[in-house]
């Protein structure tokens, strides 16, 4: 959610002081294997932290890199993309296309300052409930150790433009 400042441009809801901060993770999960796997984690009682919000896509191949960027711009601290394991994609090879695209995105975002450890990709099969829970937990811990995201967040860079006249 963006808050509009009077003098500067948009900024995000201020994150609470470090001690109260909880990482916010968005997971893009495909409707077939991954969703089933994530659901199974729930029914099997395999706990994973509430920090992870799931966004369902028909296939990991639907992932537009702009989804990840928009997430970072809104101050999301970490992103997880989950697709069907190789050879299990309902649509053929959407999962493979996604991993190639994601790998290049990850490299470029790390080049602009996103810490390695914020962007994750995983294969989760329909029966792999515990795996989903484990991966989600790992991602949360990985992001927790990095602190709040500071790259691409809207509003943070306003000060650098204030002294210049374009």
């Amino acid at each position: 959610m963006t808050i509009v400042d009077q003098q500067t441009s948009t900024r995000e809801i201020e994150t609470p002081p470090e001690s109260d901060w909880e990482p916010r993770i968005v997971a893009f999960i495909c409707s077939w294997c991954s969703y089933t796997g994530a659901d199974l984690a729930g029914t099997a009682g395999a706990q994973y932290p509430p920090n992870v919000r799931l966004i369902r896509v028909p296939c990991a191949g639907r992932l537009d890199l702009l989804f990840v960027l928009e997430s970072l711009q809104r101050g999301i601290d970490g992103v997880l993309v989950v697709g069907c394991p190789p050879d299990h994609c309902h649509y053929g090879e959407g999962n493979l296309l996604a991993q190639r695209r994601f790998r290049l995105l990850k490299g470029l975002l790390e080049h602009v300052g996103v810490e390695p450890g914020r962007l994750h990709f995983s294969w989760v099969g329909a029966s792999e409930g515990p795996k989903f829970a484990r991966v989600a937990s790992e991602v949360v811990e990985s992001v927790r150790s990095l602190g709040p995201s500071r790259t691409l967040v809207r509003g943070m860079y306003a000060a650098s433009r204030s002294a210049l006249v374009e």
């Binding site: 960027l69 090879e93 991993q99 790998r103 290049l104 470029l108 080049h111 602009v112 650098s160 374009e166």
Partner: protein, 316 residues
């Protein structure tokens, strides 16, 4: 280069006279010293306008995306690769283009020259035999062209068109060192804070004019993502986050396609080196997928396919 200019003109003249093409695209003398500009010739009698030299900086492949009919282009290696990439993406028909390969050993970077001149005005200048010579009031100086190359040429790996219909002159000798992406590795080694600070500073100058996008021969979307309003990805007001978003996404949309010609940086009115982002992707694409764009007009675009053999160590 004089001889190359003559040969170029002869070729253009016969292509037009024989009706092989209806239009020839090359370069002609610019309106200021040490400058050329894109030239469009339809008449065989007009071919004396065409020139060839290290001043032929623009990537003229761009024009073929909007021009219909049989056309000949006099291209450097980078221009040709962009053209081949556009052909592989179905944007231009191979049979409509006559690719005339010119030898290129790099073009002059006008900004680097301006740095040497320190505000002094020149009244004359030439670029010949690898040397740039300038004269002005009270001075006459010479610099090796190799010291005044733009970023695209410094890292060039294909100086002459890899696929062509006609070749003029000998193919330019390839640079001995393969691009080792040392600059990318060095930047990669910086801390996230340092990287952020670098982009914050560089992109503070960005005025979001999109000249980089327009100059790029492979940015040809009818509706660019920055113009989408439903949903709105890119916000028009001044947040540096959106400036960075634009450059990151544009680089990503060129992943596996960018040929490293440097037209983007050259077009930037503020002198920002935009290739820093593209070079990271050029390195990754080559190292991870052994893919180099613009060499084969029949190649499948990199992101239209994937292999189970792709490196997957990053996948949980």
């Amino acid at each position: 280069m004089q001889d190359l200019t003559m040969q170029l003109r002869d070729t253009a003249r016969s292509l037009l006279r024989d009706g092989k093409v209806g239009l020839v695209i090359g370069y002609e003398h610019g309106s200021v010293l040490l400058r050329t500009k894109p030239c469009f010739v339809r008449n065989a009698d007009d071919t004396d306008r065409l020139v060839w030299s290290p001043l032929c900086e623009n990537n003229i492949a761009s024009y073929l995306l909007s021009i219909k009919g049989r056309t000949a282009v006099f291209v450097k290696g980078c221009d040709a690769r962009a053209l081949l990439c556009a052909i592989s993406e179905g944007q231009i028909r191979r049979e409509d283009v006559t690719i005339v390969a010119m030898p290129c050993e790099g073009v002059l970077d006008r900004r680097k020259l301006a740095e040497r001149l320190q505000g002094r005005q020149i009244s004359g200048g030439t670029v010949q035999d690898g040397k740039v010579t300038v004269v002005g009031q009270g001075f006459s100086e010479s610099y090796p062209l190799s010291e005044l190359l733009p970023v695209g040429c410094v890292h060039c790996t294909h100086r002459t068109a890899p696929v062509f219909d006609i070749r003029i002159g000998d193919a330019a000798p390839e640079i001995e060192a393969i691009d080792d992406y040392a600059d990318v590795k060095a930047f990669e080694a910086l801390s996230p804070d340092e990287k952020r600070a670098y982009f914050r500073q560089e992109l503070a100058s960005c005025i979001r004019c999109f000249a980089c996008r327009q100059a790029c021969p492979l940015c040809y979307c009818v509706e660019c993502f920055v113009d989408q309003t439903q949903p709105t990805w890119y916000h028009k007001t001044g947040d540096l986050s959106d400036t960075l978003l634009y450059h990151v996404v544009r680089a990503l949309h060129l992943a596996g396609r960018c040929v490293g010609c440097g037209a983007c940086s050259r077009a930037c009115p503020m002198g920002i080196d935009l290739t820093v982002l593209n070079r990271r992707l050029l390195r990754d694409v080559q190292e991870l997928y052994n893919y180099v764009s613009g060499l084969d007009p029949e190649a499948a675009p990199l992101l239209s396919a994937a292999s189970p053999d792709d490196p997957q160590e990053f996948i949980k």
